[in-house]
Symmetry: C2
Subunit: 337 residues, 2 copies
Amino acid sequence: MRIALDAMGGDHGPEELIVGALLAVEQADLYISLVGDESLLQSHLKKIASGSQAADRLQIIHASQVVGMDEHPVDAIRKKKDSSIVVAFDLVARGEVEAVVSAGNSGATMAAALRKLGRIKNVSRPGIASVFPTLKKPVVMMDVGANVDCRPVHLYQFGVMAAAFARIYDIQQPRVGLLTIGEETGKGNILVKESYELLKESSLNFIGNVEGRDVFQGNVDVIVCDGFVGNICLKISEGLAEAAMEMLRSEIVKSSAAKIGYLLSRPAFKAFKKRVDYAEYGGAPLLGINGTGIVCHGKSSGQAIKNAIFEAVHMVRNNINDVIARDLGAYDISLGA
Amino acid sequence: MRIALDAMGGDHGPEELIVGALLAVEQADLYISLVGDESLLQSHLKKIASGSQAADRLQIIHASQVVGMDEHPVDAIRKKKDSSIVVAFDLVARGEVEAVVSAGNSGATMAAALRKLGRIKNVSRPGIASVFPTLKKPVVMMDVGANVDCRPVHLYQFGVMAAAFARIYDIQQPRVGLLTIGEETGKGNILVKESYELLKESSLNFIGNVEGRDVFQGNVDVIVCDGFVGNICLKISEGLAEAAMEMLRSEIVKSSAAKIGYLLSRPAFKAFKKRVDYAEYGGAPLLGINGTGIVCHGKSSGQAIKNAIFEAVHMVRNNINDVIARDLGAYDISLGA
């Protein structure tokens, strides 16, 4: 299988991305197309991959432009036809690769995917799912940013797509919850109240409302919300995890005993950090596009990029899009989706 | 000054509440009316306060009913006219106390306040503000749950009211940010985009959009959002803080060195926990009601109840409602608020 990696996206430049690609081809029987500025990538590749047996399974595909992290997604995609993210999805459209992984502008990644691949049949609005760590198994939240103003049918479809994603990770009957501000039926804003009815009537394993505090408990497998709320959840969690570590560190340096204690427990801290650190995670799958795409955190480590590549492979092997197309059947048509 | 404490609200029963009230009268020149079941409160008071010089500044006001944490707020208030929360706000309405503190059902607290006291002139929708810890000074977020479906004028008014609250804590020109999913102008859902325009034209010190990750950085003093989003932020932060401590603890017990390390750094952990623990905080002020009310976390410690009582005193002394009425002037009328 061949995967395209947008080698220009992200906050750290191509190095970490190439490190991730090399890790992936060293650990699995894969081919990767690194998309971006040929001479720049060539020089990084020489430094990073020379001497590796697997390096010949990395190929460079030239793209002369880059979409910046702060560019307007749709405008950027329209103007920069030779940008690495557009060229990468073009490789999928032409059947040369099976999926795209990008740590760049997530809106532009979605826009390029939609332009080059379109949507799966019956999907009204593709979205971005994100995997949150919990005290038990991870939970999949959708949408986390692609759709800020939603109708109930969109939330229902996010549930179907995210449940299909959870199933390829061996969660047989994913418990689907609706994110709102009280567990009782009838709590929430108008969108949530109306979505509740659709979810309740669907064939999903819908367990009802869940609250913000349930996200990290691990008692639900899929959490449905609109992309505005989901993105805020993602960013606030990330911000709090960082700030909490910072606050704890500032308390620890106040006493020598605490400092020594911290040194002794540092491996535990590292393991904890790895468990909650978004940069260590794979990536967020674009669900609903007629192909496979993953967006990673701009700060992703090589390890996270490798994980995202494996996640893309797993999605392709399990034909997740066929599952989504099948699951979005008669009920959706009756909803006028 | 006399404050009413709903002595029946909260998850732990009256003990912690009475402990908090006693701490308050011991530390400040105050009178407190404990509202609830007379014989029950009498017996707790005997155990907790006997021997304290300040105990004679605690008074019991009988109320025969209690609103449960899961009851529907408006229904409960209508039916339970002799509930502790209704009786408490009735004391304010009759001029016998200056403010109410409750750790009970927050919706019912707001409903009782509205029924007994009404709104401040020009306020369209009173709301609940919440104080979040950050790496620098705390930030005030509003609304955190009273108003789930909002119009732009409501978000603007939350900004005015929360800024007035920040000012009584000596933040002269509170920086007001609008919570959304990207820092650039024009990012967000329809409500946020329209609210942006109102905030920009207002006399507030509006610094533009802020993201979820900015909440804990301390670079903004007031964060404006609708009550659905705000409540989810509050609950997800609380849930993550708890889960993170749990995850860290589970990593620590895996190694003896880490366990010893943890023991050595425990004071730092405790200080950290105090810094982020919502149960340690005072309470969330109801802003926009024609009187003073504070809702506390159901799990509040006596310390937190004491802090909330002092917060109520501080709000009354600083005439925050006069400030809000003055600040919501001509601009609001022009908005048709």
